[in-house]
């Protein structure tokens, strides 16, 4: 009997203990169910279009130099299969969800008005929510109600997303739809991301934080000095990689190679050269200046119409007193002579190639007025890496041309515009 009483007493004690235990288990479930641990969003990152601080607006919105109107791209992987109806992005100076959130100085998402999402099950339906009040607990978003200074809220009709789905959400980067970075340089900030199964930001599904930072900008300066390398000669030399200048004295003899005389029965020609290299981006004009061939008071007539400043070149007329010049594009001298790439010859001095027999194809002109007013013979609209010009001279005499030694000096000038 005593054993039975003792058994019953011990049984009741055990029952009481189990009752207490059960009560605590139930209580414990009630306590912690409401605090259910959200899964952590994985493979998460934030890419911003500019790390410039939010006071800098250099370049277009969404470009690297514009921190005032930046684009934010969130990329992450959904860890839990289930409905997602809303997502909250909260920008803070510290990362851990559930702790106090301080908005980075100067940051504002108040101008983020649209979102583009990608990812299976996540790509459609979302829009930026600007009405749900998120200023109170547990969100504590900053700014006047509904609190969008440091929070971006998006929602849709809840739809399921499968675990492991990589998704993105892109905000801003436009002229009127943008996010402004924190206004402090080298300021790290964190974005606490929370997904909800409903579209009222109520039932948390997953959480995770990402980070990014503003940074000082690196401004680069450099100076490129103005350059002009211009030379004249009568003996061609290779330009080489450095655009080597001509260095001879430029002397040129027109006439029979042996006797050095002109003839009323045959036209004679000769070539001189100029070489130009310049970084004048505004263009360069090349002029000549000089008189016609003279021997004392006698002269050989300048050719071209109408004198003294011709605008039309003429062909060689054997037996007629003529002195003229023109650019000869055929005188390439296997790469060392004519090589206009940037320069172009100016009319009427652009047709020096061809024959100089009587009525030949080559055309010449000369302006004695160039002595006082240099005459343009070629020009470039931009920079010139290394161009060589070949100037062909024509000499004809008539039967009445007085004998003598006829000479002249032609000066070439280059006028760059920087």
């Amino acid at each position: 009997m005593t054993k039975i009483r003792s058994f019953l007493r011990r049984s009741s004690m055990l029952a009481l203990a189990l009752t207490l235990f059960g009560a605590w288990v139930v209580g414990d479930m009630i306590i912690f169910t409401g605090n259910a641990k959200a899964a952590q969003i994985t493979a998460r990152k934030l890419t911003i279009s500019s790390s410039a601080n939010g006071s800098i607006a250099v370049g277009n919105p969404g470009e690297g130099g514009n921190g005032q109107k930046a684009k934010y791209t969130f990329s992450f992987t959904i860890p839990t299969t289930g409905n997602i109806g809303s997502v909250l992005f909260q920008i803070c100076t510290t990362p851990l969800p559930g702790t106090t959130c301080t908005s980075p100085t100067g940051f504002t998402a108040a101008n983020a008005t649209s979102v583009v999402t990608t990812g299976t099950g996540f790509s459609s339906g979302f829009s930026v929510d600007t009405s749900t009040v998120l200023t109170g607990s547990p969100y504590n978003c900053t700014g006047t109600s509904p609190g969008r200074t440091n929070c971006i809220a998006i929602k849709r009709t809840a739809a399921s997303v499968t675990s492991g789905t990589a998704v993105t959400a892109v905000f801003g980067g436009g002229a009127s739809d943008y996010i402004t970075n924190p206004t402090t340089d080298n300021q790290a900030f964190f974005v606490r991301m929370t997904t909800y199964s409903d579209n009222a930001f109520t039932t948390t599904v997953d959480q995770g934080s990402v980070a990014n930072s503003t940074a000082q900008q690196i401004d680069i300066t450099a100076k490129v000095q103005e350059t002009l390398n211009f030379s004249v000669g009568s003996t061609v030399t290779p330009p080489t990689a450095s655009c080597t200048a001509f260095s001879d004295n430029g002397a040129l003899a027109l006439g029979d190679p042996t006797e050095g005389t002109l003839s009323f029965q045959q036209a004679y020609d000769g070539h001189s050269y100029f070489r130009l290299s310049t970084n004048a981006n505004g263009g360069t004009v090349i002029y000549y200046s000089g008189d016609t061939l003279k021997s004392g008071s006698n002269s050989i007539s300048a050719t071209g119409t109408t004198q003294p400043t011709p605008n039309t070149a003429v062909a060689s007329a054997v037996g007629t007193s003529q002195f003229g010049l023109a650019i000869d594009s055929s005188d390439t001298q296997t790469g060392n002579g004519y090589s206009f790439t940037s320069l172009t010859a100016t009319a009427p001095y652009a047709a020096g190639n061809g024959t100089i027999t009587n009525g030949g194809t080559a055309l010449f002109a000369f302006a004695p007025s160039s002595v006082t007013t240099p005459v343009q013979i070629a020009s470039a609209s931009g920079t010139v890496t290394c161009d060589t010009g070949s100037v062909r001279y024509l000499g004809n005499i008539s039967t009445t041309t007085p004998p003598g030694i006829y000479t002249t000096s032609i000066t070439y000038l280059a006028a760059p515009t920087y």
Binding site: R9, M13, L14, L16, A17, L20, F21, W24, D28, I31, F32, N35, K37, Q40, A43, K45, T47, S50, S51, A52, V58, E63, G64, G65, T94, P95, L96, A188, F190, G208, V210, A211, N212, S213, A215, Q216, Q217, I218, D219, I220, T221, A222, K223, V224, Q225, E226, T227, S242, C243, S277, N279, A280, N281, S342, G382, T383, V384, C386, T417, Y418
Partner: protein, 248 residues
């Protein structure tokens, strides 16, 4: 029921309660696999993560078994006295104006800027560069040519490029340095920007990275510019925007 028996019942219930409550305490995740993550665990002969009183807070350990970061394809581990469960990003660019000097077809212009990254509890980071080559507004807008692939500096050829290593032509820059040493910092120059004397610049390129959580890495950003004879004269200017993107 006697008092002693009642005390026994209560004690038994409380013991069960403690077991259940302790098993239910919410904690931060403590390590990770494709299905699980733990961020802070203690392995050693003694210690405590965050003991505190009204006046102080401490971290204690004894018989520390390992220190530093360890990583494989599937997990990452931070060991040591002072690990933290708080992700960290520190990114500092020593910005400002960097003058490449007076450049002509025989002289290379160069400058070196610096930046540093420290990124804790991440899966690594990348550093991106955005911007345009130096441009002059005089005589119309003109921009120096960018080096689209790693190329040596060549005076007389128009070039703009950069890298993050120690160069001899010209003699500028430094290799990434880990602070305090290579057991803590893991940042490195990205391919294309990691070879001495070869320079490159592509807007939006990744110029540096770490494949895992990293202590501080200091980077030197070497910039070079060359011009040819027809590069327009003028004052050139440009802006580089350096960004870090950590992945957690």
């Amino acid at each position: 029921m006697k008092l002693r028996e009642l005390v026994g019942v209560v004690a038994t219930g409380m013991a069960m309660l403690i077991v259940v409550v302790a098993g239910s305490m919410p904690v931060h995740a403590q390590s990770t696999s494709p299905h699980y993550k733990v961020e802070e665990s203690f392995f050693g002969t003694g210690g405590e993560l965050d003991p505190s009183s009204a006046n102080y807070k401490a971290k204690q350990s004894a018989g520390e078994l390992t220190v530093g970061n360890s990583v494989s394809a599937n997990y990452q581990f931070q060991g040591g006295f002072n690990t933290s469960d708080v992700p960290l990003l520190e990114f500092a660019v020593n910005g400002g104006t960097y003058d490449l000097g007076i450049i002509d077809a025989s002289i290379t212009g160069s400058a070196v800027a610096t930046f540093s990254v420290r990124n804790y509890l991440s899966s690594g980071y990348i550093v991106l560069v955005y911007g345009a080559t130096p441009t002059t507004a005089s005589s119309g807008s003109y921009a120096l040519s960018a080096l689209a692939s790693p190329t040596s500096s060549q005076a007389g050829t128009e070039q703009f490029g950069l890298n993050l290593v120690d160069n001899s032509i010209p003699n500028i820059g430094a290799n990434p340095s880990q602070i305090p040493d290579v057991t803590y910092g893991f940042g490195t120059a990205a391919p294309g920007y990691d070879t001495a004397d070869l320079y490159k610049f592509v807007n939006g390129d990744t110029i540096a990275f770490s494949n895992k959580s990293s202590g501080q890495t200091n980077y030197s950003l070497s910039m070079i510019a060359n011009v040819n004879r027809s590069t327009p004269a003028g004052q050139y200017g440009g802006r580089l925007n350096i960004q870090v993107v950590p992945t957690f």
